[in-house]
């Protein structure tokens, strides 16, 4: 892979940093990567080689590139960090995950940080990022180098449909509106970044499992002339849920350079604790944006009925906070029963039934307990756990699935 033609120019209302990515080993088309920034930090945007490397390194590794030649210099700490991150990914998902050789045209040089320390954080508008901001505001007085002096909001990463599609546009517009309202109330200058980075590899599973931490870190490093420390809010919880994910407390610090420290923040807290800290800022709550449902025809930022909307409303309910960012009347036992049982989300639901019973909402608690049981059954099936799973493994290993074939013969499925 070659990353060259690094360029940064002023646009009508902001700045645009870009680079050309050409594949050398994978049969893939060249790609013009861009990041467009508007807002307070836009004038500090630069086509930072470390940022471009972070953006492309894991897609290059995934598609078997043997090297990444980058225009300019690369920080040696980032080179080592990416290599270490590839080792972590390999330990989670297996080989082959070998980082391509990194070949900067002007060698490995540690960049100097901005002369005045300045911290920032990503602000998506969801509970995790808002909690990180709210606590930072509570802890650090103005002038302290750890106080967030900038908020960054990114669109164009593949959380929803392809860029320009109605689903993507709906999500982007709701996210930006929420972030703008929240940043105003937090008194944090907001910068909006739009990128086509998600188009470099459209596989959402890859993005989620391996890539998104370094993708956000790439955005942070574009502002390394202005920022020395950028926090990304954790969706995980130490000791409770640390799933292999593209953003992880083991991975994110590895995406730092001599100029900018990239931090994984808030992993020490659960969602109910986060809701409790938001309850102390009722001015922020109407602007919360947690929903990934797209397109959303109804007014407001959140559908109120999807999995994420429902557990967020319950967390706010338990924290005694108004769920006024959600349409009224959505939080019912029936809505919970109607959800698909996705075992990846069980972590969010497990702490809720007991607390809901204590809060006098046994109706919701029972519906959630049923849903968790369904999730566990799905998980046991997908992991071949329990006696049935053992039998399936035995069948595959020693009988080449003959038992399964026999069962299918005896009990054929519905005709297609």
């Amino acid at each position: 892979m070659r990353i060259d033609a690094l360029d940064c120019r002023v646009t009508g209302d902001g700045a645009r940093a870009s680079a050309r990515i050409r594949w050398e080993d994978a049969a893939r088309e060249p790609f013009d990567l861009f990041f467009e920034a508007r807002g307070a930090a836009a004038s500090s945007l630069r086509a930072d080689p470390d940022a471009m490397l972070l953006a492309a390194a894991f897609p290059a590794m995934r598609h078997g590139e043997r090297r990444i030649a980058v225009e300019g210099t690369v920080c040696p700490a980032l080179r080592d960090g990416l290599r270490a991150a590839a080792t972590v990914l390999k330990s989670w998902y297996g080989a082959p995950r070998t980082l391509p050789a990194i070949e900067p045209a002007e060698g490995f040089i540690s960049p100097a940080p901005a002369p005045v320390p300045r911290a920032a954080a990503f602000l998506s508008g969801g509970m995790d990022s808002l909690d990180v901001f709210v606590r930072n505001r509570a802890y650090f007085p103005p002038g302290h180098p750890a106080r967030f002096e900038d908020a960054l909001h990114v669109s164009g990463l593949p959380w929803t449909g392809p860029p320009g599609s109605p689903s993507s546009e709906s999500f982007v517009s709701r996210g930006r509106t929420a972030a703008a309202a929240l940043a105003r109330r937090l008194d944090a200058p907001l910068s909006l970044v739009r990128t086509n980075l998600g188009e470099l590899d459209r596989d959402f599973l890859f993005f989620r499992q391996e890539w998104f931490g370094s993708a956000y870190a790439a955005v942070a490093h574009l502002f390394s002339r202005r920022l020395t420390e950028v926090s990304y809010a954790s969706a995980q919880q130490l000791g409770v849920r640390l799933d292999p994910l593209g953003s992880h407390p083991l991975l994110d610090p590895l995406f730092s350079t001599g100029a900018l420290r990239f931090r994984h923040a808030g992993a020490d807290r659960g969602r109910i604790e986060k809701a409790a800290s938001l309850a102390r800022r009722p001015d922020l709550l109407p602007h919360l944006h947690v929903c990934l449902t797209t397109p959303l025809d109804a007014p407001g930022a959140n559908c109120g009925r999807c999995e994420k909307c429902l557990h967020s409303q319950i967390e706010l309910l338990l924290a005694g906070a108004p769920a006024n960012a959600f349409p009224e009347g959505c939080l019912t036992a029936e809505s919970i029963r109607a959800l698909r049982a996705d075992p990846h989300t069980a972590f969010f639901w497990r702490p809720l039934p007991e607390r809901l019973r204590r809060a006098g909402r046994s109706d919701l608690a029972s519906a959630i307990a049923e849903k968790i049981a369904q999730m566990d059954r799905v998980r046991a099936w997908t992991r071949d756990a329990g006696w049935k799973g053992r039998l399936r493994r035995l069948d595959r290993k020693h009988f080449r699935s003959a038992l399964l074939d026999a069962r299918r013969l005896l009990r054929p499925g519905p005709a297609s």
Partner: protein, 417 residues
């Protein structure tokens, strides 16, 4: 637990910061906990509440203290990090986070961050710390704020324990003498430090698995008048992480807004680190890996313990053992390797040596290492009940209420003379 009377003291050419520690729920003796250094470095020390709360909270949580109350103000970032660290430690044992409240008599306020920034790293003279320093010297410009300026050498693992012998202090002095020269050559300052945190709990297993990362970070917090960033060299690489008191999931949690803490070098295996050190003549000349107790007289490395032998084999395959002055032998004998008493926990370090040993034409040593690895793996499978015996044991417990095991014990007893 109450931590009070935070103070500075000077005596016998040493400067120290100390505090009185009283247990409230556990029936354990009160202690004076201290961090000390040479008098010439007195200005580097400060009686930081962050240092004492970080140094005491892990044993306090272990012994069921319901709160840890410290005199002064604690950094709110550190308070959250400590909760995170305790959660991680508990999760490794499958336990919930211990309920211990952190209280500060002057509340939670971020301490000021030192300006200009100054970076430090722990500097024991072992493979990990020499690697951290060498890479920093090679790759970070000296004017960069991440350039290491201080190497902190700790005497604390044994300091003040009832069984500490004068030899421990002699060894520390020898290390100081050896590493002072290296520090001078590298243009960094050597900061020899001593602490007695292990007096709070002298269980060595607990210290290794839960406590020493927090103890090292506490020493860093006691030095925030001098440093703003601290690297803790990693022991394990990211591909082979094990629960350990210093770990990439733990160490950053011990940071405050005045002190950034970095778990450094986990991207490289031990042999990769050793290869970097082996190409650095000044470092290789001072390499000291041995922590055998009691320490050998007049030598830095005993040459016979697991760590010394592992390092010697590494240097052998790298073709540098003969040049390593701190190792008395220029070769490793099969007998020495065979005589090594090996417990589990070191397999990943030895596994990476097998292929290089064969490449170096040392099939004799490679075969012994493989034998020992096989034995260690068998032991681990037995211990973790992963072999067929384990399957039977689990079945017995689950469905037969342990009656097979009881029967086996009865048969053994009956057959005993």
């Amino acid at each position: 637990m109450r931590i009070s009377a935070l103070r500075r003291e000077r005596s016998n050419g040493r400067a120290r910061v100390a505090a009185d520690v009283v247990w409230e729920d556990a029936d354990r003796p009160s202690r004076t906990v201290c961090f000390e250094t040479d008098e010439g470095l007195a200005d580097a020390l400060s009686p930081s509440p962050d240092a004492f709360v970080t140094g005491c909270i892990v044993p306090a949580a272990r012994h069921g203290e319901r709160r840890i109350r410290v005199e002064g103000a604690v950094c709110p970032e550190l308070r959250e990090g400590l909760r995170g660290a305790l959660t991680v430690l508990a999760s490794w044992r499958g336990a919930p986070r211990p309920e211990i409240a952190i209280e500060a008599s002057e509340g939670f306020r971020p301490p000021p961050r030192r300006n200009p920034p100054r970076a430090a790293a722990f500097f024991s003279g072992g493979v990990d710390s020499l690697f951290t320093l060498r890479m920093n010297l090679l790759e970070i410009p000296r004017e960069h704020p991440a350039s290491i300026r201080d190497g902190i050498l700790i005497l604390g693992h044994d300091f003040g324990l009832p069984d500490s012998s004068p030899l421990e202090f002699e060894r520390f002095d020898r290390r100081v003498a050896s590493l002072s020269g290296l520090a001078r050559e590298c243009g960094i300052d050597l900061v020899p430090m001593r602490f007695n945190l292990r007096e709070l709990d002298d269980d060595l297993d607990f210290y290794i698995h839960d406590f020493f990362g927090a103890a090292l970070a506490a020493a860093g917090h006691a030095l925030t008048a001098r440093i703003s960033a601290l690297s803790i060299p990693s022991s394990y690489d990211l591909g082979h992480l094990l629960p350990c008191a210093s770990h990439p999931l733990l160490d950053p949690n011990y940071a405050s807004s005045a002190l950034a803490i970095r778990h450094d070098g986990a991207g490289r295996t031990r042999l990769e680190k050793l290869a970097v050190v082996a190409e650095w003549p000044e470092g290789l000349r001072r390499l000291q890996t041995c922590n055998w107790r009691p320490p050998p007289r007049e030598r830095l490395n005993c040459g016979a313990c697991e760590k010394c032998l592992r390092t010697a084999v590494g240097l052998l395959v790298l073709g540098r053992l003969a040049e390593a002055e701190t190792f008395s032998e220029s070769d490793v004998s099969p007998e020495a390797l065979r005589a090594l008493e090996w417990t589990t926990g070191f397999e990943e370090f030895w596994e990476e040596l097998v292929v290089p040993l064969r490449r170096a034409g040392r099939d004799d040593l490679a075969a012994i290492v493989e034998e020992k690895l096989d034995a260690a793996r068998r032991f681990r499978r037995w211990r973790d009940e992963e072999d067929w015996k384990g399957l039977v044991k689990r079945f017995d417990r689950m469905f037969l209420h342990g009656s097979l095991a009881a029967a086996a014990r009865a048969v053994r007893r009956a057959g005993a003379p």
